[in-house]
Amino acid sequence: MPTPHPSAQRANALRHLTTRLVTDLRGRENTYFLILAVLLLVAFPLFMDVFRLNLVGKYLTYAFVSLGLVLCWGYGGILSLGQGVFFGLGGYCMAMFLKLEASDPVSTSIQSTPGIPDFMDWNQLKALPLFWAPFRSFGFTLIAIAVVPAVLAALLGIPMFRRRVGGVYFAIITQAVASILAILIVGQQGYTGGINGITDLKTLHGWDIRTDSAKRILYYVNALLLLGGVGVGFSILRSKLGRLLVALRDREERVLFTGYDVASIKTFVFVLAAIYSAVGGAMFTLQVGFMSPSFVGIVPSIEMVIAAAVGGRGSLFGAIYGTLLVNFGKTYFSESFPELWLFVIGALFIAVVMLFPDGLAGIDLRGAILRLVLRVRGGRRPMAASAAPPAKGELSAEPAGSSGAGAVGT
């Protein structure tokens, strides 16, 4: 009986190890998910007063954007510098509904035209603009929050992905869109509230969103939505679509020649990221009580990218922690050392790119240990170490290698 060829033996052992690692990682993801859920739903509400909790809730609305960026940029390789656009659109949809409710004819009776939002009255508008009218309905508003950004993302994405515009050009064009929308909102004061945004939001169906108890409830709603977002993200990444995403990020031509519709996959993930951002924007408006163009333009959009990059562009969990960390840092520095903040965030941008392309999630102790074990076991066969999925030493040079989740995709 012939003994198996040594290379076949090796391959067998490797396959065995890989299977074990993948099931292992899936278990690890569940544990991470549980940790995140406990942190958001139990630990934060328990140890923080309402003010701090509201602040965390605000940061977590940015985490929606980061989740979208992980899917779109980390996995799909599409860097959008215009996520603020979608965040803003979601936020403005919600703000328009709340503003209309706050501007009932009784409380605006001193205006020359009662019943329209105050900033319209200041800008000599005599009637509610047509596009505002449907936002009297909460159902319509909820649909609009998802549909308006999705349609814009599709309109932007389809022609560009069809023509295979990607990478840097896509980034620059989305950035220009962010710039345009911010200028438009600021310029059209009478219709949008201008630079101040839409302020003085009060109630949601008569429920006062400014009270402490409302803030607590909204925090929970936000946290649950975010956890749901993580769940949706993972189910996509674990599906065939997730694998295709990684494949087209790394070798677009091959996926194309295999017969997949690359443009549609890219559009899907870009639209998905837009919806994530929009949900974050809507929750922002609810929790913070206003929406303004300062969350739409170039600077906020790119800050959202850095938050995702710091956490790890290849990790859904990493993105959330990164967002929390960057925004805590921002608040802390702008309160204590305002002149230092730009240095810190600037250095972060450079350090993340040069030293930690995988962000926080890339700092992977377990991977390092596994690598060591494999090296010892593999003896004089460095091949084995570099072929096993968790040993991603050489992957880290790639634009978006990921730690746990990347291995799941294999």
């Binding site: 860097l79 510098l81 932007l156 022609p159 560009m160 023509r163 295979r164 515009v165 990478g167 840097v168 050009y169 980034a171 620059i172 064009i173 950035q175 220009a176 869109v177 710039s179 345009i180 200028i183 438009l184 600021v186 310029g187 170039i298 790119i302 990218v305 850095i306 990059a309 002149e339 730009l342 240095f343 965030i345 600037g346 250095a347 972060l348 941008f349 450079i350 993340v352 790119v353 040069m354 392309p357 634009p399």
Partner: protein, 302 residues
Amino acid sequence: MHASLAIWIMQAFNGLSTFSVLLLMALGLAIIFGQMGVINMAHGEFLTIGAYTTYLLSHASEKWAPWLSKWYFLVAVVVAFSLAGFVGLLVEHLLIRRLYRRPLDTLLATWGLSLIMQQTFRSAFGAREVSATLPDWLMGSLKPTPAIDIPINGLFVMGLTMGLTALVFVLLFRTRIGVDVRATMQNRAMAGAAGINTGRIDRFTFAFGCGLAGIAGAAFTTIGSTGPTSGSLYIVDTFLVVVFGGAQSLLGTIASAFTIAQTQATTEFFMTGSMAKVLTLSAVILILMARPQGLFTLQLRR
């Protein structure tokens, strides 16, 4: 009839003035982004370096060398070019060089650099905008007829832009180093095999592009004031100009700057400045969606 002609001439001048400003900004980027493919988000800050250099020199010459104050501006152009170019050299060596294969990461890293530079300007010169003292010969305006009023500083910027554009063309297409630069950008491996030191060419090209931004900054002090974030205000427009023109074509950059400037100036006549800008940029983006390669393309065998 006569008045409408005057309005028409002034309008044309406004368009040309916007054109030269856009082109001046885009020239350096056309080299760095168009030729090298490096996304330098800190390009605007190199412009600011030039502007602050001019501001400092204008005050220094007022204080210590009044005889120079008439012509300090010409010195400032040279110093601005050298200083911005030198910083560019450093940045290329420390940062860009390591990221040539990762364009998206270059974008993020240079954005970080731009934030650091902005805060450095703010710490050094304060948050308030400053202005250089203009020499007499740059002030005032030409009045061929009573109805027409053409500012001299605008004319000066126009002349400078034309001169610089000509210089870039000569340098790229009529000199040995230009051949080396184009060879490196079009086929790096082959250029290296032919004995061109491609690393040195990268460094030189990047520094030269930054130097051009420095000159643009110096020129801007004649038409506006300078603040820590002055440069970054232009960055998106500038990138759009280069992309719209067709990234690898210098001629395309000129054509695109002209088109965008004329559209902007014309629409500004009919509506508010912000709406004109929204309209112009949206048009550019729509056209780019239909024709991603931009106005002009370079035929290259890859």
